[in-house]
């Protein structure tokens, strides 16, 4: 005979299959979003201030400006951390929206796969630009 739990289980199958791993990934992504969100507020505000407000603002940003800025390992690190956090924070946000609104397994897997690929490509391209930037050979 079907029990009440059997009847209810069909409505929320994943809730009845608890995440048995010692630490669930969703817990850690939630924690990452909290921390990266706070860090990004400061990184983005500093970025906007330095690039768009100080001096002549964005008008003064040219090749020479980039050469001078990326001469410092500090600014390179700053830009890379912002790239890393923004891509992961934003990418995870989009993953969450996909999980909320797309319910067909195949379609969801395809769209999420494309999202992960896009994030990976942008991460590799951005990292390559920052790490390999050499004023002597660039431009």
């Amino acid at each position: 005979m079907a029990t009440v739990e059997d009847i209810y289980r069909k409505h929320k199958p994943t809730a009845f299959e608890a995440d048995r791993r010692p630490s669930s990934t969703e817990v850690w992504w939630w924690f990452f979003m909290r921390i990266s969100g706070v860090v990004l507020v400061f990184l983005v505000l500093i970025h906007v201030y330095v690039m768009h407000v100080v001096g002549a603002g964005v008008e003064r940003v040219d090749f020479a400006f980039v050469v001078e800025r990326w001469d410092s390992i500090g600014w390179k690190s700053f830009d890379w951390i912002m790239l890393f956090l923004a891509l992961l924070h934003g990418g995870n946000g989009v993953r969450i929206i996909i999980d909320d609104y797309i319910h067909r397994d195949g379609l969801r897997a395809t769209i999420k796969g494309s999202l992960y690929a896009l994030i990976l490509i942008l991460m590799i391209m951005g990292t390559a630009v920052i790490v390999t930037f050499n004023p002597a050979t660039a431009g």
């Binding site: 009847i7 289980r9 994943t14 809730a15 608890a18 995440d19 048995r20 817990v27 992504w29």
Partner: protein
């Protein structure tokens, strides 16, 4: 005074789509919306289907969307509502007829979090009383107030979008036991709530807190459960 109401009606046996029907009833401004719905049912349209039981905000049967907001029909006065009063069934659950929805998916989320006292006799002598201090009781006092009316869960945009989400009410009732010093099932419940359809589906929209007719700080309780899940997995 005359009270104008517009009620969303739907009979799956005869109607293709839900549709609004207008009614005018005579009521005192201090009467409740539930009284008006009774007048419709008793004097105008005996076919109107709605759930109600205690009529005093305790049983949680008559949650409905009133002028676009989730409320209990028995707790809102006519004088406080803009006319014509639009009355619809709560959202996100299948409508069975008129204002009655199928509550089974709602109670599925509730049952999933094991909303009962779980005891471990290896940790506590089952023959001795378990003393709880007023401070320990206070820790989960807010979430004991839940009446399972589903006003919170059916106001949640994530629940509308993803029926697998256990919903705010289930998390509130999990909170009630997770933070109870007499309960030994906290880790078990946090495992359940860490699943894909668990507590981390909450996007802190705060609709639940606004909708709760008992004034439970639902979003705060959900955040406390998230934090507990984080520390539990450390």
């Amino acid at each position: 005074m005359d009270v104008q109401l517009s009620v969303l009606k739907y009979n799956p046996e005869t109607d293709k789509e839900p549709h609004f029907e207008d009614f005018t009833v005579e009521a005192d401004p201090m009467e409740r919306l539930l009284d008006c719905l009774h007048k419709i049912k008793w004097q105008h349209d005996s076919g109107l289907a709605l759930r109600r039981s205690c009529a005093h905000g305790i049983c949680g049967s008559d949650a409905m969307v009133i002028n676009g907001v989730n409320m209990l029909a028995c707790k809102v006065l006519v004088k406080d509502l803009k006319q014509p009063i639009r009355v619809e069934p709560i959202r996100g659950l299948p409508v069975l007829r008129d204002l009655i929805v199928d509550m089974e998916p709602f109670f599925a989320g509730y049952l999933a979090v094991k909303p009962w006292l779980i005891t471990d006799d290896r940790q506590h002598d089952p023959e001795r009383e378990r003393i709880q201090s007023p401070e320990e009781r206070e820790r989960f006092d807010d979430t004991t107030k839940c009446i399972l009316c589903a006003a919170c869960t059916t106001s949640c945009p994530i629940f509308w979008a993803d029926k697998e989400y256990v919903g705010p009410a289930a998390i509130v009732n999990a909170h009630r036991f997770i933070f109870d010093s007499r309960d030994d099932g906290g880790a078990e419940r946090l495992e359940i709530l860490s699943s894909r359809s668990g507590v981390f589906k909450c996007r802190t929209a705060f609709n639940c807190t606004a909708a709760c007719p008992r004034g439970i700080k639902v979003t705060q309780a959900i955040q406390e459960v998230k934090r507990a899940a984080l520390f539990d997995s450390l």
